[in-house]
């Protein structure tokens, strides 16, 4: 089956990075394998950051190494610096996603560097990949591309300027994340349409947080603007330390329902997502869980687009 759109579960990375309960390594691996079992083509499995910064990722090497061996899966991992990338390359992981912020203030707060320094760091990772790990794909997420809790509105032209810079630096893929859930559909449509033009053949990812309730609507707007790659997390894991009760990433199961209902093939079996969701629910009993379609069930007579394709 040919997919029309690609959905990636970023739950094991973005969904866990603020969770207090440390999830056992084997549970993470069961979750990732169950994601693949439901048809997910890609999972962001961990972040290569020091364990003293985020204890949840103390097992990043083991998780990445094992996940990289799951048949048919693209395992990706986040890193904010060259050191993390060096560790990541050695695990055999298929993709490394770098992160820097369009907002200078946020970049300083998040990685303690100027944006120019972050860009140089990105170039160093690409140089290392070119020299020693030619099979690894290098993506980059331009955090706060749609708004920043420090700076407020981030000008579209500023985000697109940095998009141009990272493409020039050699990014294999780019993401324009709504890091703090500030975006609205008209804004999304505008920037994604322009970004898709600028990216050309370079894959462009969306990444929405449902912090203010517009996450799925923003994904729809990105889709309408030509975006075909979507981050999400099972059960809407994520949360935000600055917004109690707010959700994290958009719920993967509801996003897949949206896309399949709109007639697009994701290659993902919505009902089969119940298995990884059950793993997540058991492992994170005290975390708020979101997402509706698995609890409500699919509409009577609903035939997913991917199922039609498989007939």
């Amino acid at each position: 089956m040919t997919r029309d759109v690609t959905v990636r579960d970023v739950g094991p990375r973005d969904g866990l990075q603020l969770v207090k309960a440390v999830v056992p390594t084997q549970v993470k691996l069961d979750w990732i394998a169950a994601d693949r079992g439901a048809g997910l083509p890609e999972v962001e499995v961990c972040s290569f950051v020091p364990a003293k910064v985020i204890p949840q990722f103390a097992d990043a090497i083991e998780v990445a190494t094992e996940a990289a061996g799951i048949g048919g899966l693209i395992a990706s991992a986040l890193t904010p610096n060259l050191k993390g990338a060096e560790i990541g390359f050695k695990t055999g992981i298929q993709k490394i996603n770098y992160v820097m912020s369009v907002s200078e203030t946020h970049n300083q707060s998040n990685v303690r560097r100027t944006r120019e320094e972050s860009l140089e760091g990105f170039k160093a990772i690409i140089a290392l990949r070119d020299a020693e790990y030619p099979g690894v794909s290098i993506g980059i997420g331009l955090a706060t591309a749609l708004g920043c809790t420090f700076e407020g509105r981030v000008p579209e032209a500023e985000s697109l300027k940095w998009l141009g810079k990272v493409l020039e630096a050699g990014a294999d893929e780019v993401a324009l994340p709504d890091t703090v859930g500030y975006a609205h559909p008209a804004q999304v449509r505008s920037i994604f349409a322009k970004a898709a033009d600028i990216c050309g053949d370079v894959p462009l990812w969306s990444h929405f947080h449902d912090t203010r309730g517009l996450g799925i609507a923003n994904a729809l707007a990105a889709l309408e603007a030509g975006c075909t790659r979507f981050d999400a997390s099972l059960a809407g894991l994520g949360g935000c330390p600055f917004a109690p009760g707010a959700t994290g990433n958009i719920a993967l199961e509801d996003l897949v329902f949206l896309l399949e209902a709109e007639g697009l093939k994701t290659g993902i079996d919505i009902a089969a997502l119940a298995k990884p969701r059950a793993i997540v629910e058991a492992a994170l009993a005290d975390e708020p869980k979101h997402g509706h379609v698995l609890q409500a069930g699919l509409p009577k007579g609903f035939v997913p687009s991917s199922a039609i394709a498989a007939e």
Copy 2:
């Protein structure tokens, strides 16, 4: 200020009809007044049904009578039959909303009549209004217009056929509710674009449930198709007896944020919605509450469109 779009809180009716805890009359009235205080132009305040069917509405006459006297507010109420409408007319309420289903099975289940019988009942209410209550507006909601838990998919042509019939019968306003949360954006865009053409100058309302996570995205699709009137309920009250954990109507606060962020004037002060929400939270401590924007707060530097208009 001229509104671009109209948002109605249906929480005191749709949000309460399945809630077990009976909300005291004064609390309902405080909620409705606080809605008006935040700028809501219309609230569906109750349903005129026998107390033995829905005990929650045993105080419907008192609620409707008091709500009808709130300055600047259009108080509306639901009724499934002529008897309810007769009671409603006497309260002085500004609008009566009748309900029938496009799905024959659902109509039989909900009001124990054929659709033709329901249509005759609607005509009888309009005749009574014409004869004795000329100032009252008569709306109608075509339940299951976007899908039915009994019949599954409801053909668009069938929904539009009944839309034509109720307009011919003299409806002042119509709604195409997604009663059970089956709709998806492409479906919504298609039917609302056609319905808007058929309705001409007759106001057309959308009414989405977030049962499968697509409620706000569907509201966006309806907006894009030309719909300018939206039902919602504070905190996403509603629920569905057939879908544990599923939400009810789309959360009013998030809908208003969507519309204001898209540059449309609702006339509603998002921050001021905290007051009616607090009333709802205190009155319904055991019910699941939804909606994100009030907990997360508005984005830094966000200026609502209605605020710009007021300057």
